[in-house]
Symmetry: C2
Subunit: 196 residues, 2 copies
DNA sequence: GTCTATAGGCAGATAGAC
DNA sequence: GTCTATCTGCCTATAGAC
């Protein structure tokens, strides 16, 4: 029934809303952007926004869901394409560096700062993002230790915690100054500590 | 003339405003608190707030100024009381752990997330905070290397960058979950990488 | 110094026409 | 799906009395 070709009605608008809102949140934070900002950028009205996303909270949820899914895809691609653990970590760092190079903060990093002001569903999604990232990192690190390309004392989970903390913190601080290389510098030191 | 004893008129009120506002910003962020929040907590009116701090931007500046001064005092105390570099770093970590234990984020860390929405004077103050912290850390690390208690490859500046990034990031992420020990865990790994 | 009163703007959100 | 029109509430800020 219904459609031979896809019903591409509002799908594009909904996606474009996410694109604009995502950028705004990554630059200004959840409490630093408004429906009016998104509407102005897309040249539609705020009433139209409410058609696609009933409220700011739902838009925020959709933002994290898509971001986390893309992140998971990127990690799956790394697992698929890169065999060696240390190189996987380099690729992981590249994801962060790309975000920063576009003048943005990690979506979930900036939302972590605003955590106490977020509606519960958004909080839970942010927490899940960090949990799954740390789990992926820990498995890569454990794998590297087994194969002998990484060596160090702490547990893989602790090392993963250090890596993700260092990357998020370096992004955070890098945006307050002119030197975006701060992230790369931090990443080099962090990864070096795993290969001694 | 005028006073034998100190004219402690509004001084206490101005300080109490800073105390309340500081807590609010460290928990909810600069864009997540209002004059009304502070006024309610102190049981005064927002009009009174404007007498002490003409606008939110000036209040924000005063907040960073006091916070940075306290931080500088704490670092000076460490330099005065603790001779050994590695122990100085432990004391530095304790400062962060104390903030987190009170359910707060580093004031300048949370402001870094909101950087793009801040008035220029606040931005500059945040940037200065990180610059001076990193300079202090780098000097301690360099000192530890000279005296032989620390040993590692990267420059002292790069190691300082890694430490402050890791601590800020760990605070940020720790607040999204139940495990506040995440900061301590990250700190252990970070400092361990400087003593190999 | 602190208050009442109020201005003026922007926020998120809804009803209903097209 | 997108619009106009509108609501209600909160925000920062000011004037002026006490």
């Amino acid at each position: 029934m219904s459609g031979a070709t896809k019903p591409r009605r509002s799908v594009n608008t909904a996606e474009r809303i996410l694109d604009a809102a995502e950028r705004l949140v990554q630059v200004r934070g959840y409490n630093g952007f408004s429906y009016a900002d998104v509407a102005a950028e897309l040249q539609i009205t705020t009433a139209s926004l409410h058609y696609h996303y009933p409220g700011k909270a739902e838009l925020g949820e959709a933002l994290i869901t898509r971001y986390a899914a893309r992140f998971a895809d990127a990690l799956a691609a790394i697992d698929r394409d890169i065999p060696e653990a240390r190189s996987k970590l380099d690729a992981y760092v590249d994801i962060y560096a790309d975000v920063l190079a576009r003048g943005r903060m990690c979506l979930c990093g900036i939302l972590a700062a605003e955590y106490e002001t977020l509606p519960t569903p958004m909080r839970e999604a942010v927490t899940r993002f960090f949990d799954s990232n740390q789990a992926w990192l820990a498995s890569v690190i454990a794998e590297g230790r087994t194969s002998g390309t990484l060596s160090f004392e702490p547990s893989a989970a602790d090392a993963a915690n250090m890596i993700i903390s260092g990357l998020e913190g370096a992004m955070l601080i890098a945006r307050t100054g002119p030197d975006l290389e701060r992230l790369r510098t931090a990443a080099r030191c962090l990864l070096a500590s795993l290969t001694r």
